[in-house]
Subunit: 200 residues, 2 copies
Amino acid sequence: MAIARKTAEMAEPAPRERILAAAHALFYRRGIRAVSVDEIAEAATTNKMTLYRHFRSKDLLVTEYLRGRAADAERIWDDVARAHPGAPLRQLEAWVGKISARLAENGNRGCAIANAAIEIPEKDHPARPVIERHKSLQREQLARLNRLAGFTDPERLADEIFLLLEGARVNVQSVGRRGPGGRFKERALSLVKSAARRTS
Amino acid sequence: MAIARKTAEMAEPAPRERILAAAHALFYRRGIRAVSVDEIAEAATTNKMTLYRHFRSKDLLVTEYLRGRAADAERIWDDVARAHPGAPLRQLEAWVGKISARLAENGNRGCAIANAAIEIPEKDHPARPVIERHKSLQREQLARLNRLAGFTDPERLADEIFLLLEGARVNVQSVGRRGPGGRFKERALSLVKSAARRTS
């Protein structure tokens, strides 16, 4: 009996995972406010009662969806660290390359977490701490690599790259990839190149 | 009779203006999708029938709201041109200052038009041409001033300032004004200062 259930679970993801996958696909594509809980339950081939048993409210489902998106973005830092151990400048450039490749993918709608910040002005929404933590961490990761790479003003370069990226992600949604957002990689690498480094 | 009507109109804005003012206040503060047509009609002390007589649909009201926001943003270029005639570099710096001051205002939720681009992924929405036209124009205005000011790579500097600003406007919504978005003015002016200009 236990074995039969386990096999069934392996064949198909559990309702919680299906709900999160559906929420991710629909929220990202159409926006958080544009998608109802009913639509997510249906896309996850489950029902609203099961959805609420796992997530209690739409706000908490949104929060969990954003936690997943944050974890996904944070993994990229590990990927570039593994690919270029002990080489912070190359890690930084590789990160810019990976982020830029994502931005050029079909169906890209920028950063799910920044989009959520715009859709959720409420300061008491449970997703707010997830948004703030993730965005602060991303900028801090940039500053950390800049310090390790020996830039004389690592904080300034971190602000520049970070804001350039946030801007690019919005801009591709405003005017498409032929606008300045489509030149994010070129512009970011040019800022990296022209920033002063301590002679090493 | 005609005079009496004119006096009444002067005492109180016509329904169309009241509806647009209410749409502006509510859409900007809470987001386009979060606000219903009923709420706007009520805030404008009119009714839904009058609203639809003037704007036909919520989508067309959103479009008209964004046209107003675009015109407002575009006026800033005229203001700085009048304040610093024949001095493109000072116009550019004054524009950065004005935009930055807005970003620091209480209740600022970034750029209404960029926010709309995120809330409206539909490519056939009537607001789409307004969004694209405005964002292209803003970037082109920056490039134009950069050319006049004699920067050797006016397009690059235009991309940098433009994306920095778009990023700052999103970032203040993610982490507040103490994050990198709150340093937009300082960062943008530093890019202007370090960009190469033809010897004049």
